[in-house]
Symmetry: C2
Subunit: 624 residues, 2 copies
């Protein structure tokens, strides 16, 4: 297509096969395309589920980026990555959008293995500046003058890694471009001083314009106007800094552009072209509206951050889950806080995700949302604990990985008491390998002074929380899965230690957590197949109580099924201990190995051999 041919032509999104074709389109054509993209996004996510509000907010920005830069030679690094659907649409993946987040199909996050346009993996927050800087430095060393662009939201800016990246990128000898996609809230409402600072920027006039006004005013000021201006320009004092550097990002060494209207294609293109023309690190502040163009999402972008299927006309979600491990956790914590002023709830930007909205209703003064700052959350909690409070940090298993050093150094060495609510533990499903909660057990059990629980139902989770707060010391983690308690077994003799079902068999099946339900069902089937098994379910999974070993030693065959990474797992530790004590029977363990790809939870459990059917097969196969 030549520009002259298509200037007034209506362009269908389906006709855009490569992002370079956007270069020939007029602003009005691009605007029209944005409308089509929004329709595709709403239609598609209503059927597949996924991230909606963040994607609707980034449509114009993404179109402008691909119209100004030459991807994949220019590299775009999407922070967190859940805003990259438009990028996927424009880079040859329009048709595939309907299979988003399904097993073996396209990911809800950028994935280099999926497309050469996805230059760096994402999923966790605040990584984009560091990754983009590495790419930009390498390109420069390779004599490649293409650009690297990091697109990062204000939420991700609350993470220390973003700041470490900023501190290095601003003074770098590269042409890196950082785009702040400012939408005032990331997942929950943003917190912290930076958020306040940025929201001031949002409302102010363009910095450059203002600086001109000051200079013009001084030009018109008789007698002292000129001397002041000269003094400002030549002096090395704070005055110069104040006038020439008005933003923190300039302090960090970036050329600053903005704020730019993130839903105005021409304004965006102009800002991007300016940054592209500079031969130095640039920072563009772009204002966007989360959920832009779809009223239900604009009005409640928190709810439409990550959503299941929904009805487009009404915006009503397909299925409303009445309860979840998260909500039950938040409610129980709130109930306990009613009669204990020491209990504090800490979250790293996951108030709703971890069910703490129930806590804030009545205990707002003891609720701390620290931003996407898991390191700080742990060290801050240690400070609270040192002074007699009872902090509970509720966090997704996958994000707790960020706190490893703080857990060792700031909590464990002094044996400080800290309760961790480890949410989304185990397999999480459609978000895939970046979000699985499979490392918490192996990570935490390398640390001294750690106790871990893995309840199999709501009631047990509540018991574990009570135990963690009032009986245990040191770091005490309670891990529970995403979603609801679907267990069907009879809730008798619940306790925080273990449940033992003794049928006088010579085979023992061991497990913990939600797959206990699968194991019970497997034991039933095995019984029907004339292979009677005993069952041992751990609730406290670490340290393993001595009784467990005494019970286990009496069996000829032991099978240990575990929803955790294999290396360093509880079954590994169990195995080491049992054999060191001279166990001579057979022990078969099944845990997760390697990264788990996106799929439904049940499909992933099956693949890992942790569904009831696979358990039956494993036992029959290994014993025969």
């Amino acid at each position: 297509m030549k520009k002259s041919d298509i200037n007034n032509k209506y362009v269908l999104l389906e006709e855009i096969k490569l992002p370079e074709e956007l270069k020939n389109l007029s602003a009005s054509q691009l605007n029209n395309l944005c409308g089509q993209i929004r329709n595709v996004l709403i239609d598609s996510v209503s059927k597949t589920g996924g991230h909606l509000a963040s994607n609707l907010g980034a449509v114009e920005l993404t179109v402008a980026l691909h119209s100004v830069f030459d991807t994949p030679k220019d590299k775009i690094v999407w922070d967190v990555g859940h805003q990259s659907y438009t990028h996927k649409i424009l880079t040859g993946r329009l048709e595939k959008l309907s299979t988003l987040r399904q097993e073996g199909r396209i990911s809800g996050f950028p994935k280099p293995k999926e497309s050469e346009y996805d230059s760096f993996i994402s999923g966790h927050s605040s990584t984009s500046i560091s990754a983009a800087l590495g790419i930009a430095v390498a390109m420069k060393k390779n004599g490649d003058n293409h650009h690297t662009i990091a697109v990062i939201g204000d939420g991700a800016f609350t993470g220390g890694l973003a700041y470490e990246g900023l501190n290095n990128a601003g003074k770098s000898d590269t042409n890196i471009i950082i785009i702040l996609n400012y939408n005032e809230m990331s997942i929950s409402k943003n917190v912290g001083a930076l958020s306040k600072y940025l929201s001031t920027m949002r409302t102010k006039q363009s910095y450059l314009k203002t600086k001109n006004i000051i200079e013009k005013t001084l030009d018109r000021t008789p007698i002292l106007g000129k001397p002041i201006k000269t003094a400002i320009k030549s002096s090395k004092t704070v005055i110069k800094n104040m006038l020439l550097h008005s933003t923190m990002f300039e302090d960090f060494g970036f050329a600053f552009i903005g704020p730019v209207d993130g839903h105005n294609i021409s304004e965006l293109q102009e800002a991007l072209q300016s940054a592209k023309a500079m031969n130095k690190p640039a920072f563009i502040h772009v204002n966007t509206i989360k959920g832009k163009g779809y009223a239900p999402a604009e009005e409640n972008s928190g709810e439409y951050h990550s959503i299941g299927k929904f009805e487009i006309a009404t915006g009503n979600p397909d299925v409303v889950s009445a309860d979840s491990y998260s909500s039950e956790w938040g409610k129980e914590l709130s109930r306990l806080a009613d009669s204990d002023a020491r209990i504090c709830a800490v979250t790293a930007a996951m108030k709703y995700g971890t069910g703490l909205q129930y806590f804030t209703e009545t205990h707002k003064d003891k609720f701390f949302d620290v931003g996407i700052a898991e390191q700080h959350a742990v060290t801050f909690s240690a400070g609270l604990s040192k002074m007699g409070m009872l902090p509970v940090f509720s966090v997704y298993s996958s994000f707790l990985q960020r706190s490893y050093d703080q857990l060792i150094h700031d909590v464990s060495i002094d044996n400080t008491h800290l309760v961790l609510g480890i949410d989304r533990a185990g397999i999480v499903g459609e978000d895939g390998e970046t979000h699985q909660g499979l490392f918490d057990v192996t990570m935490l059990t390398t640390i001294p002074n750690v106790t871990l629980y893995s309840p199999s139902c709501y009631e047990e989770m509540r018991m574990c929380l009570n135990q963690a707060l009032y009986k245990d010391t040191g770091i005490v983690g309670v891990r529970y899965p995403r979603g609801s308690d679907n267990s069907t077994y009879e809730k008798t003799n619940l306790n925080i230690d273990y449940t033992y079902i003794n049928n006088n068999s010579e085979t023992l099946l061991i497990t913990y957590g939600r797959i206990y339900n699968n194991l019970l069902s497997a034991a039933e089937t095995l019984k029907e197949k004339a292979r009677k098994c005993d069952v041992l379910k751990l609730t406290r999974i670490f340290p393993i109580s001595e009784e467990i070993f005494q019970i286990s030693k009496t069996y000829k065959h032991i099978f240990f099924f575990e929803e955790s990474m294999k290396n360093g797992s509880i079954s590994d530790k169990f195995s080491v201990k049992l054999f060191s004590e001279g166990y001579k029977g057979s022990l078969f363990t099944r845990a997760v190995e390697g990264f788990v790809q996106q799929a439904t939870v049940s499909a992933s459990l099956k693949k890992a051999g942790l569904d009831s059917e696979s358990m039956v097969e494993t036992v029959l196969q290994e014993i025969n």
Copy 2:
């Protein structure tokens, strides 16, 4: 002592038993005390070794803090903590200073178990603001109006955790006080945009004074002066921000005081009193000189950062180590880079510590000191690697703990190639529990796509580095200890896999790393005691090669000695695999359990049962 009695009295440091006694002293008496403290510091560290330059720089600040605040009710949190010697002297530990860093004696870092004046553990960088905020919030909830003060250097400010803390502290409803101890360099010369920003602040006049000048100038400006001033005061635009907020720290919500001369007691006391009187978060910028008062340390504060014994008159260190694993690593990396333009060296503020000064001599353009920012170092390196470079991140084992999530998420999932030089791996000695390098093996082996080497001498380390760069993929770690190669065994048949000494015994001793030397010596002694043993030394410790298992299975007794934490250790993995394959012999493993306290390396190895003598005892005891 009454103030009137002592105003002109010469006060001896020995007379100060409690920090509250400082309150009665005049500025000149305090100054005199500072001189005495300096003499004690120099004299003491010259005999014990330890951190000198940072402590000499913080004498007046510490004295001023204890003279203004009521410790231990007011809480001081020392970031990193190696500047806390004066604090120890003033809080009843003067006599104990001569036993600093010795086994069972006082620590070189603040330690709550040691004194109620040490309010939070430290050792790792950038934790103080988060810990202090937790303490301050808890005190407020408890109705306690005392203050919490975080003392943090500009080096520690390059770590993201400090920024996460700042972002939360600035907007907090507390009276927290952050003191920036600005001395232009932390360990190596500081890096990054923030450093540049702070150094601008160092030279400028007091911000408050300057603001007054502007206002006065405008007052004197006819016609437009007043309207401009009014516009500034009332407007909500950037102009107001520029005049009312001149520092990044004010943007973050703090009342800003400074810069203050950090060697002027009266000026320091005045600033601290101002901050104390405010009922909001305050930030004080204090300029200090590292090594102040001792010429050799002032001139070369890097060398005097952490030092062994030295001669006071000349400043000459007692023993100069000609070589170390670190220096050999840096030299080999530099040699390889001579013929490979892809090799980049990355460090997190440990250029000298990791021997990279040898790399920078000829490859400055491919050397990246990112500040105390281990998270960024890994993600940045991943970006470099994605574009075809060969990044090598050299880092202390203990500090690598900060990168756990980045290693999983930004490197391992995509199986990106990254070489880690894991320095100070194993027991490190006198710095104690916060600095031991004992978690790297257990931490890294929970991550997929990881290969680990633990060479036992310089030559092997060089072979491992070559292998890591040119043969392996994914994350490849080479771990080596602090200090020199003291191995005495004959260097034949060195390789990157394993060394097997077969004497046709029925007992096999397995180990890796520097304690191989101890094991060989133990095997000699055992032979003399008529207990002949075979020896297997691993160089690649993970994954363990299949041959190792085949060899091991043939033995009746196996002993595995390991300089690493026990839970999740290589010996644990070895044990799991061997028994899962039906091994029926006995296996005894000895690794480190719990935190290792300060002591000499050899004393700690003995305590852990990893010296030659203990190995002999273990074998004889377990077999008989």
